[in-house]
Amino acid sequence: MANKLFGKAMKRVEDPRFITGTGHYTDDMTLPGMVEAAMVRSPYAHARIKKIDASKALTHPGVLAVITGQEMKDAGINSIPTGWLHPGIKTPPHYAITFDKARHVGDIVAAVIAENRQIAEDAAQLVEVDYEPLPAVALGSDALKPGAPAVHDDVPDNVCFTWSIGDKAAVDAAFASAHKTVKLTLRNNRLVPNAMEPRASLAQYLKASDEYTLWTTSQNPHIHRLLIAAFIMGIPEHKLRVIAPDVGGGFGSKIYQYPEEIIVLYAAKKLGRPVKWTARRSESFVTDSHGRDHETVAEMAVDQNGKITAVRVDTIANMGAYLTTFAPAVPTYLYGCLLAGTYTTPHIYCHVTAPFTHTTPVDAYRGAGRPEATYLLERLVDVMAHELGMDPVEFRRKNLIPPDAFPYQTPVALQYDSGNYEANLDKALQMVGYQELRRQQAELRKQGRYLGIGVITFIEACGLAPSALVGSLGAQAGQWESALVRVMPTGKVEVFTGTHSHGQGHETAFAQVVADELQIPVEDVVIVHGDTGRMPYGWGSYGSRSAPTGLSAIVLATRKIVDKAKKIAAHLLEASPDDIVHEDGKFMVKGVPDKAKSFFDIALMAHLAHNYPADLEPGLEATHFYDPKNFVFPFGTHIAVVEVDPDTGKVKLLRYLSVDDCGPVINPLIADGQVHGGIAQGLGQALLEEAVYDKEGQILSGNFLEYTLPRADDMVQIEHDHTVTPCPHNPLGIKGIGEAGTIASTAAVANAVMDALRPFGIVHLDMPYTPEKVWRAIHGSKPVAQAAD
């Protein structure tokens, strides 16, 4: 079959509407009789709610209701559950509106519903809440100290769970007999996701049919429907439709079941009017689940041949005030299982303690666990190479898993299905001119200029996920994916996918593949997603799963269509189905090109069924539920080159190069765009971004004046290429690319900065490498204060 569009850099069909401002987002919607909500949020990280007096707000003209947590609890609305459980995990309740205590700045204390947003926001300021401020704790390690204030009364030690993986005894023995060991104490900085579109929800309740509709900014509308129906509100699942229309970015933050969605659904029924809520950016900063926030002690051991013998990791992973939907999976299976990286390390042990703190919940953020694993592993590798007096690239090369070792069983559960790491590394080194760069670096150092080169190799496990496997690990969800391919009488095709596109370009890339499979014009295909009322059950988009898992389901469904079409063609052409071939857009009798039917002919006859096989159902549509056999394992090499200004401490990115291996690339324009955006986000973590809390749990970087996102002038033109190692276990051999840039670039930039600072004897600094931090390290003066006093 000719693959006409696979691999073609088609412009995205989504772009005209996004570029011209005609996308259709939740906040763009207005329904007849619609009213709006504003939330009253706690200004304290920890406070007892003694009394709520809504009388002034209720007399404000245009106010319809002030809803409290007690009211919703009395109405039978349950707590919001988490979607992943570990043995012994503590899951204290998370009510949409808290009624006893506020547990982080931004915790909802009451909701005001009014005729419009202006009135709602004015009235929210009139709700009088009598708080008794209580001591708070923001840092994970502080929460674990004896006597630390408890976030939840029934978890007095703040320990949500502990988790470990690997053979501790074998690791300890390897360290005991090591030739050399290194140890890093490091912090993986907390990040705010900052999707371009703030979260929004609009709920409608129709009394006549007792049906709800929720439009919301979601990466996975079916998960919301399931959680709301089965756990939180008791709405029968078939009476709730969840629609995620155009969504402007998620990065994980729009996976989770948030309180506001419950509040607007409750209010819509209570008032009999549609209710909308849209986050202000300042609300996004304190309520969208944050990412990362680890405190880690990481160690590596090598033998006398420079082979890594063991890695030992102990991490405190801050969960924030409540467990959101995937939080327990992120610093565990998506983290500890990735600590082999691309290396043959035989013994790995990882222990994680996850405390509650009085901060915004922490959950998956682009890469989710894998950037944290890659960062610490690649930092250890660079520090160890330096200890051994080896070039960091040569140390890596010595330890890479060789191409003939696949499938490769790691000591931390994962079995890598395929890989060719050294060839990928060599391609990147050649592209960047590594030896010449090192020569330049030495030259410039003589002139007092500090160039840094960071080379990292990485692996990720994505394409979530084999359902039975994740179920055995604690997932309260399946991770297969669905597709429904519906051919209309005119030969046009609707493809319904359970994945969701919120920037990834599925409407283009998936259509390319469908057009190839069915051999029809791409214009005849539409990809439909984001509506529980239109598509079969699906688990949404995260964990770089849409192409490897979602598109695999689509491909297998289209192949069912082709099989059925062959039967119809055989009947029409009076031949055996086995003699029908599908070529050049036609179904023809093998060797007799004149005897052919077009896709349109088949589609029409499937619907008319006038001249039709007696034993075949009419119609032409197919569903496929695809459960992957394994994760997929994209990998690559990323190289950052930076220069540090010793006078100011400012780090400037000079070059960035990536060679990714995501298998065959469907649409290079989209894949490269994913890599570019991911690299920018990872660079942001390394150089710019940090959610800073003070001791009282107040966020100090809660707006764009203080929280630094990367801008165009922080970036360089990215030099990018691919190697292609297909995945052996899915129909197209494809792997994920959505998170790779973020997983790799933080570590690459970090290693580059540390490489630049090596002449100053600096071994390690925590991210972000802000100018003052770097300047102080260079000048060896005082330690940097955590926050402004």
Partner: protein
């Protein structure tokens, strides 16, 4: 958040604006709105009325009057950046303006709005001091002129009195003077953590810093150290040491007092090296 409710009045002349200010005593003047509107949306400011002076024709544009360039207070950053008169006689202003915000901000923001707002991290106050600008102020009792050195009085506070409007900025033309602005931008807001403007006029060195303290200020220690001296690398380096004591400087997540003081030295040196063509 949405702003609190306010009345909106649009002035078409300075006289009308002054009159409107008298009728609405708690009102705020609206220029480009890039500082005021965000403050109102965060409800840090809730003026009962806004008097929009951004379209008052007599407040816009750059013209030459003898040895002075007269800049209307409502002249936008974009107009400053592209003004041939400024480029020819006062290149410091276009250079400093280039570092402000982004093209959208520069299309709306005005010189008068920025100077009257007196944000301690604003770029232009340093240039005003280094150039020796004069501020023309009009109010119900007539017009007066205030030296830049007397104009900035504190954090977000100036010599402007209740009911007065900053209408013009007078920049002396200094033939042959060399000038430069060196800025260390805040990584997020891109305002000046420290910005140093220098004007080398014959043997006189005028220098001022913004971002470092409560308001922009002259770097008198630097000016005195270099007075009458040739601008060599050695002299500049020697002069740019400990220009400001850290004690009273601003401090935030990006820069402690100590680091800010250090940046003042570094930016002063960079501005001088650039002005001296080194």
């Amino acid at each position: 958040m949405y702003t609190a409710e306010f009345a909106y009045k649009k002035a078409t002349s300075v006289a009308e604006a002054i009159q409107l200010l008298q009728q609405h005593p708690e009102a705020k003047l609206l220029a480009g709105g890039h500082s005021l509107i965000p403050a109102m949306k965060l409800r840090l400011a809730a003026p009962p009325a806004l008097i929009d002076i951004s379209k008052v024709a007599e407040l816009r544009g750059v013209r030459r009057e003898g040895d002075t360039l007269v800049v209307g207070a409502m002249t936008t950053y974009r107009e400053l950046e592209t003004s041939d008169l400024l480029k020819a006689h006062c290149p410091l202003i276009p250079q400093a303006v280039y570092h402000i915000g982004d093209p959208m901000v520069r299309a709306k923001g005005t010189i008068g709005g920025s100077l009257a707002h007196a944000d301690p991290a604003a770029d232009l106050p340093a240039s005003m001091l280094a150039l020796g600008a004069k501020m023309k102020i009009q109010g119900p009792s007539g017009a007066r002129v205030v030296e830049a050195d007397q104009f900035f009085t504190g954090m977000f506070s100036t010599a402007l009195q209740e009911g007065e409007i900053l209408t013009e900025i007078h920049l002396p033309i200094r033939p042959g003077a060399r000038m430069a602005y060196a800025k260390f931008p805040h990584p997020a807001s891109r305002s000046a953590v420290v910005g140093v403007a220098v004007v080398v006029d014959g043997t006189e060195v005028r220098a001022a810093v913004t971002g470092a303290g409560e308001h922009a200020m002259r770097l008198t220690k630097l000016e005195q150290a270099l007075a009458g001296k040739p601008l060599t690398t050695e002299n500049i380096s020697a002069a740019c040491q400990g220009l400001l004591a850290p004690d009273h400087l601003n401090h935030d997540l990006v820069a402690s007092r100590e680091y800010r003081a250090h940046l003042v030295d570094v930016m002063a040196k960079r501005a001088l090296m650039q002005a001296a063509g080194l």
